[in-house]
Each structure stands twice: as structure tokens, then as C-alpha cells.
């Protein structure tokens, strides 16, 4: 199954949730925002959303330096 992650195609296993994808990116525990098809997804919904082919996902990190 293929989704679009940060503008680039990426293959995922069938049945993966948003939480699985975030964990696979080794981003668990870091301060990130996840947007799915242009809507911000609350953190507590990562585990309940099952990815679908063609989903557009943006993972944004908070950057605090200056």
C-alpha cells in the first residue's frame, strides 16, 4: 500500500495505523504534529486511524532554535 508522506510516496504495510507509521519513522516521543489529508490529527487518534492507499500525511516537527 502506498501513501504520500511529506510529499513523497512511501509504502506501508496493510493494516497500519497512523501510530504505526509514526513509530516506524522513529518519531515516538518527539514533539510532532501529524496532518492527514490536510487536517491535524489529535495525538490520541493516531492509534485508531487505519491508513488507506493514497492518504496524504505531513509530519511536522517543532523547531525551537533561533
Amino acid at each position: 500500500m502506498t501513501v504520500v508522506l511529506n510529499g513523497e510516496e512511501r509504502s506501508c504495510r496493510e493494516g497500519w495505523t497512523l501510530a504505526d507509521l509514526v513509530a516506524d519513522l522513529r518519531l515516538t516521543g518527539r514533539r510532532i504534529a501529524v496532518e492527514l489529508n490536510r487536517n491535524i490529527i489529535p495525538r490520541d487518534e493516531y492509534t485508531s486511524y487505519r491508513l488507506r492507499p493514497g492518504d496524504e500525511i505531513e509530519v511536522v516537527h517543532f523547531v525551537g532554535g533561533g
Binding site: N6, G7, G29, R30, R31, A33, E35, R38, N39, I40, P42, E58, V60, H61, F62, V63, G64, G65, G66
Partner: protein
């Protein structure tokens, strides 16, 4: 619009922009605003110039070591354009002084180097209805977003809780290439000038990211979050908290700046 120091558009010449932090982002932003002829430029920074600042804080020079950053910057800006007024605020932005400091200005540039201070600026600006530009930089990455309070996406829409300093690498921990600060600081200055002049579109509802290694500029569409604790339908943040203080350390690349050291220095 004639973008020369001698003939800025009237709305730019009469405009007032506050820059919080005269470091990596604030240095190029301040220089650009002075050259654009922004009539009043406010500078907030409690710190003095250190050697480790100079690889990216381009408004300061070796002769400025030990001088307050706001004083060093003001001198350079007036040399570039004596027609602008530069107001210095040699103090740390806090919940208590934020309303007083923000009030006179049309637009705020968040050029700070700490997680908590960035959220303090976001919260204060939204509560006071003050448009501002956020930017963050670390290592080889940077990002920026312009916020029109209660009209466009704010930082809390994306990150409802303040990330802990442990989760967000600072420039001190991770380092930074100096030119990255210039790239993002200049975008922030362009946003301020566009806001004043009314030209073009602002960088609202789009987070502009720059990856210097790739290299790639990219704008990610971001929408307002109805569950935003600050500007959502049922906000839980309705006043500034004095706990929202910057507990992170400055972007000193040399690594000699410890939290304890800096706090001690500030209390002098």
C-alpha cells in the same frame, strides 16, 4: 512600492515592527527592516554579544563582544539607514511585560531561541490580536509561519502543548549553520514588510520549511484546529501564565553556555 531606503512606501515608513531576540534570526531580519525603511524597529534582547554568536548573528561584530545585543544592533541599523527609529528594550520578554512591549507595534517577529518563549509569543500575540511571524532553526533545518490571530493557524493549532526542551534539540545541543539563520530571518523580514505594505499574500496557513542538506524549500498547508486550546472553539488558555518562561538555553555554538551560567548572568 519602491524598496529603497530613501523611498519606502508610506505604510512601511510609518510601520512599527518589534523583533524579539537579536540573534541568528533577528540579526538579518533587523538589517532587512532597516534597509526597507520600516519607520520604527523595536529590539528586545537581554543578552550581550558573545564570541560564539558571531558565526550567524550577522549584525554583531568582534568589536561588540560584551556589549548588549540591542545596543550593538541599533548602532548598525542606524548606520545603514539613519531615517529609521530603533527602540531598544534591554530585557527578557516575559508574561508580565509582554502586553506593554507588544502594544505599540504593528507586527512582531519571533526571533527567539527558546521553545517556551516561542509559545509565550504565540499566546501573547493571539490573546492581544497582534500579527506575528514565527520561525525556528536548528542544525540544517528551518521553518516559518505567519500568524494573523484568530484568522489563521497558530502554533497551538499544530502543537497544543509546549514541547519539553528535552524533545526539541536546541542550537546549543545540535549546532547550526549560520547561513540558515539568514535564510529564515530574511523571510520573516519580508513577511513584516508585506504586512505593512499590503503587497502580495502572507505566509499564513502554510508552514514554510527549508532543508539545507536536501536542499529543499517546501510549504506545508496547515489548517486552523477547532480543538486549539488557544484559538479553537472552546479555548482553555485565556491568559498568559508566568510559568511560560524560557527554560531553554541560548544558541551558543561554543557550548560553554549552561543554564545555570545564563541564569546567573541574567540576575546581575
Amino acid at each position: 512600492m519602491k524598496p529603497t531606503p530613501t523611498s519606502p512606501a508610506p505604510r512601511v515608513r510609518e510601520g512599527k515592527v518589534l523583533i524579539v531576540g537579536v540573534g541568528g534570526l533577528g540579526s538579518p531580519a533587523a538589517l532587512a527592516l532597516a534597509l526597507a525603511g520600516v519607520g520604527t524597529i523595536g529590539l528586545i534582547d537581554p543578552d550581550a554579544v558573545e564570541l560564539s554568536n558571531l558565526q550567524r548573528q550577522i549584525v554583531h561584530q568582534t568589536a561588540d563582544l560584551g556589549r548588549p545585543k540591542v545596543v550593538s544592533a541599533r548602532e548598525k541599523l542606524l548606520r545603514l539607514n539613519s531615517a529609521v527609529e530603533v527602540i531598544t528594550h534591554h530585557e527578557r520578554l516575559q508574561a508580565e511585560n509582554l502586553p506593554r512591549l507588544f502594544h505599540p507595534y504593528d507586527f512582531v517577529i519571533d526571533a527567539t531561541d527558546g521553545v517556551a518563549t516561542k509559545f509565550l509569543i504565540n499566546d501573547g500575540a493571539v490573546l492581544l490580536g497582534k500579527p506575528f511571524s514565527y520561525a525556528g532553526i536548528v542544525q540544517f533545518s528551518g521553518q516559518t509561519l505567519t500568524v494573523l490571530p484568530r484568522q489563521t493557524t497558530c502554533l497551538r493549532c499544530l502543537f497544543p502543548d509546549i514541547p519539553s526542551a528535552d524533545d526539541v534539540p536546541t542550537c546549543q545541543e545540535a549546532g547550526i549553520i549560520g547561513s540558515l539563520a539568514g535564510s529564515l530571518g530574511m523571510v520573516q523580514a519580508a513577511e513584516a514588510v508585506k504586512y505593512l505594505s499590503g503587497d502580495g499574500e502572507l505566509l499564513t496557513d502554510r508552514l514554510l520549511t527549508y532543508e539545507a542538506l536536501a536542499p529543499r524549500w517546501r510549504a506545508v498547508t496547515v489548517k486552523r484546529n477547532p480543538r486549539c486550546p488557544l484559538c479553537g472553539v472552546s479555548p482553555t488558555i485565556t491568559a498568559l501564565s508566568s510559568e511560560e518562561q524560557d527554560q531553554t538555553i541560548s544558541c551558543a555554538v561554543g557550548g560553554e553556555t549552561s543554564v545555570e551560567w545564563k541564569r546567573e548572568k541574567e540576575s546581575v
